[in-house]
């Protein structure tokens, strides 16, 4: 079985281990680029959001690379994300691709168990393999998180511009190839050491303004869509703190990692937003309020054009920013968004924050 999954940010690093441990060959498409985007845009309905288009392009690429199984997660809820697996499958089948479709859904996890049992035949072996795979994946994901978070903190302090990103990418590549826990531990130790050596001692004492990044999950996590906004802000001398990373996304949606934080967020956001609809709407409002409490200097709201919950949230964030007088930059992303536009808006926004401080 050669399996692929919708591509989003760095989630492929831990997921590769998960699939490999379960005797499934992972097919990882090349990172999103112009070609995948135009492929996705060509075949999807016009008003779909950019995550749909980009993942469709990546799935096509992966199928061309020889994948025969697509693993999607889905569910029955109000956001249209719940329909994406079916729509993706429809479009791909119309294009003539043949594949086996696995949909991970709370309601029928039984089917997935049956598929896995076909690989290992015996329950005991499967359970053993499954626990091992989950543990390894979890550990790999935490290492990835530690490296990414470290890089975010170090970027505004670095000696040579752009060096942190280079070092981070080098170690993430090593991590991607690592298969046992011993190797991962070593990479974590070496990676953090290498990142820390990049700090410019003169800047260590200086004040670094913090910016919270909120919005829709895909737009926050996938650097191709948001034009590497976290790196850009870091290199401009700001500490950019996304409310969601690949690790926390995977953790929350599989084993409810960070559920306590979510409960806190829900309580905070209750005044402005009462029902969680999907598309990280509750998190967006709650984390904005939390950022205000924690003394952040600004908030950036990233969302795809036409996202159902986030367009409603947009109006509420405007009111919150007015009430607490915190600078808010609202960026709506689609396939026509240009990098120059984002850069201009970012530098204007950073100027506002600098003057405010």
């Amino acid at each position: 079985m050669k399996a692929t999954f919708p591509y989003m940010g760095n989630i492929y690093i831990p997921l590769k281990t998960l699939l490999k441990e379960l005797n499934i060959q992972p097919i990882i498409p090349p990172p999103p680029n112009k070609e995948t985007l135009s492929l996705g845009t060509k075949y999807s309905p016009e008003l779909m959001c950019i995550p749909f288009k980009l993942t469709l392009g990546n799935l096509i690429k992966a199928l061309e690379m020889g994948a025969d199984t697509i693993i999607h997660c889905s569910g029955f809820w109000s956001c249209r994300y719940g329909h994406y697996p079916y729509l993706h499958a429809d479009i791909l089948r119309n294009l003539g691709y043949k594949f086996f479709h696995i949909i991970l859904k709370k309601e029928d996890l039984k089917n997935v168990y049956i598929i896995l049992k076909n690989i290992f035949k015996k329950d005991i072996i499967l359970l053993e393999k499954l626990t091992q795979a989950v543990l390894k994946t979890y550990f790999k994901s935490t290492v990835m998180e530690a490296l990414e978070r470290k890089a975010m903190a170090i970027r505004p302090l670095e000696k040579i511009k752009g060096k942190t990103t280079k070092v981070l990418n080098k170690y993430l590549k090593k991590l991607f190839r690592a298969d046992n826990i011993f190797q991962m531990k070593k990479i974590k130790k070496l990676g953090i050491k290498a990142l820390e050596s990049l700090i410019d001692e003169k800047k260590r004492e200086s004040f670094i303004p913090k910016i919270k990044i909120v919005g829709e999950a895909f737009c926050v996590v996938e650097p191709y869509v948001n034009f590497r906004i976290i790196e850009k802000l870091g290199e401009m001398g700001f500490y950019a703190d996304p409310f969601l990373t690949a690790h926390s996304w995977l953790g929350f949606h599989s084993i409810r990692l960070g559920n306590n934080l979510y409960k806190k967020i829900k309580n905070l956001a209750k005044e402005y937003w009462q029902y969680n609809v999907g598309g990280e709407d509750m998190n967006t409002i709650g984390h904005t309020l939390l950022a205000i409490k924690e003394g952040y200097s600004g908030v950036i709201h990233l969302h795809p054009f036409g996202c159902l919950p986030q367009t409603m949230v947009q109006g509420i964030l405007e009111k919150i920013s007015e009430k607490y007088s915190i600078p808010l930059l609202d960026i709506s992303l689609d396939e026509h968004t240009s990098e120059n536009m984002i850069e201009n808006r970012l530098s204007a926004f950073c100027e506002i924050i600098r003057r405010k401080i």
Binding site: F305, M312, G315
Partner: protein, 286 residues
């Protein structure tokens, strides 16, 4: 005491029922006027720019009502069980009362939350209207009476099916008078609204309460060999691409005209497309 109901969105779905219900309870209700250019302009000013046109218009209606009424009546449909299948409202509908509260300060809202995981629809009505001094029996009676009176709907027959939400179809400004134009042209048509309330078992994927009747209409069109379908939507409707894709899949051999309307849509271009579509159908029939 006056209760204001904005003429937009769910008002068109539950119009008959709501009128009957408020009449049974002897509460005075006022409506906003029909959608006009002013409503659109005011609504667009109040709302985020990326929200759909129907929502913008809804805010324009609320602005008109705010000064005249004591309470604003809003429905928030979160979850409803139909034939044991959980159905949801459109995400924008669920968030709507929150946005109204954020945009208009100091506004008294009668917010009807239908979340059948917590309590049934009748009890939600009781929860909202008990503060006016009605007993539970009175409210439940009014609810039942209104439901029974609005239950029956006759199926009409026609040659062209128009699929769209009633808040676009029956709003003369938003639909650019589509229904009136077709009437004057002498075209026999039916609208998808008459399928509202009929559940279908065939459809398993789409789980939006207000959208299932659109697909029911599409299935009906396939069975009855209708000669053309017109779908009409406002820009940028988030659910439209999914529903339209389903309709295209269901009615793969029927001609479909897709119309999407925004603030700047002109009647001339709209007429040209409509006329050529009708001509196409005529030629195909011959």
């Amino acid at each position: 005491m006056k209760i204001g109901i904005p003429k937009g969105l769910y008002f068109y779905y539950h119009k008959d029922f709501l009128l009957e219900f408020f009449d049974n309870l002897k509460l005075t209700v006022i409506f906003s006027s029909d959608t006009n250019q002013k409503t659109i302009a005011e609504g667009s000013q109040l709302t985020p720019s990326e929200i759909c046109l129907s929502m913008k218009v809804f805010f324009g209606h609320i602005k008109e009502l705010v000064t005249n009424c004591d309470y604003l009546f809003l429905i928030r449909l979160v979850k409803k069980y139909v034939n044991k299948r959980p159905l949801f409202g459109c995400p924008k509908f669920i968030g709507l009362p929150d946005l109204v509260k954020a945009v208009f300060n100091n506004i008294k809202i009668l917010e009807l939350v239908i979340d059948e995981e917590l309590k049934s629809e009748e009890e939600s009505y009781y929860e909202v209207f008990k503060k006016f001094g009605f007993s539970k029996k009175e409210i439940l009676n009014a609810y039942k009476k209104a439901k029974e009176k609005t239950k029956e709907k006759k199926l009409e027959k026609g040659d062209i099916l128009i699929i769209g939400h009633p808040y676009i179809l029956f709003d003369r400004r938003l639909s650019l008078g589509l229904l009136d134009i077709l009437k004057t042209m002498g075209v026999e048509f039916i609208t998808s609204f008459q399928f509202f309330g009929k559940d279908l078992d065939k459809e398993k994927e789409v789980c939006w309460y207000y959208h299932r009747h659109l697909l029911a209409a599409a299935y009906w069109a396939k069975e009855n060999n209708i000669s053309g379908i017109i779908t009409i939507n406002t820009f940028p409707c988030g659910t439209q691409p999914i529903i339209d894709e389903r309709i295209k899949k269901i009615c793969s051999n029927i001609n479909i005209l897709q119309i999407i309307i925004d603030e700047h849509t002109q009647k001339e271009g709209f007429m040209t497309r409509l006329e050529s579509f009708l001509d196409l159908i005529k030629i195909k029939k011959k």
